[in-house]
Symmetry: C2
Subunit: 221 residues, 2 copies
Amino acid sequence: MTIPPRLVEVREKILKQNDLLAQSLRQKFEKSGVYVISLVSSPGSGKTKLLEKTLSWMYQKYSVAVLVGDLATDNDAIRLSSTNALVKQIITGTICHLDAQMVENALKDWDLKSLDCLFIENVGNLVCPSSYDLGEALRIVLMSVTEGEDKPLKYPTIFNTADIAVITKLDLAKAVEFDFLLAYKNIQAVRPGIKVFELSAKSGQGMDEWLEFIQKLLQKG
Amino acid sequence: MTIPPRLVEVREKILKQNDLLAQSLRQKFEKSGVYVISLVSSPGSGKTKLLEKTLSWMYQKYSVAVLVGDLATDNDAIRLSSTNALVKQIITGTICHLDAQMVENALKDWDLKSLDCLFIENVGNLVCPSSYDLGEALRIVLMSVTEGEDKPLKYPTIFNTADIAVITKLDLAKAVEFDFLLAYKNIQAVRPGIKVFELSAKSGQGMDEWLEFIQKLLQKG
């Protein structure tokens, strides 16, 4: 149905309110010296798996925390807690995305100054999270080879609002006859110039380049 | 952020308006003798691939049409048009789900009485489509083995509003070490008693049972 103007108006107000809060969070993060990276993707693209591997490696060098968003269950927080990182689950109920207020609330009892890096894993959804700034320094969009090469064209906004793209589950690329050239073409069509990683958190392929990239971010940050 | 009561009120009104229209669509479908099946899933779970195979088989026996929803591109409509079914793409722009009004608009120049079956492929999203009745007789939720066994627990509402679940990409089950028992346990936990199919539209595994099921639906319908 055509959305009535009143709803548009109310949504715009909420988005504006979110942007203001996100901006103040961003300043707080910068002041505290914590580098904030958010991850967005479809359900099951491998956000948690990539974080598991990344955190296990980072823990030796950095003080890292994770906020993980889901409609229901704290499964991901349980998975990630084995990495020794500080982890908190945000349960959104029926809400299809994280917003800046949820992030602010979840951070209340953490000392940001003691952290080098904070990851925010959004609800698995290629649409709605694109509209909500969380105050992150870097937004990473993941797509797995099993989802097909056309996802950037079909969900352009989420790719367009991301800083980095990661093609995941590289170990399955042959089995699904993944066409890398086509995928790159599609990613660049909606987000020209974006850096793209290819990796498999399961097999380890591409993980060295990824971890080196994270390390460089934190050196700069 | 906490959603202001005004937005909740407006959203509830929209949902109510959608439900009324969906109800009138449902009556129209029944009166016209067209059986309407909607498909919901994450992006890249294989809705279009399953429809391609299903429509190619159905075309010999039935008059079939498809509405396919996406934020952008008419890629899926192009893919499905090779099946000789009547196909129309609904481009939703930034809207994360189909609603009853979009379905009604898309059907305006089709003669429903000439159809045996109408498929509605929703936008790839495991959250938002669950709230929107489209007037369908049957809602099918798909999950691919590559998404992981936990998806029903993490996205309970979409499984809870579905009539049938389909586990897709069975050809990749071994490669991802998919735990069928766990997946079934999780599906049944959020939607007790739901019938579950397992298939691969690529390898053909499980397709006979699926097509037999569709045929039986149309005999009853």
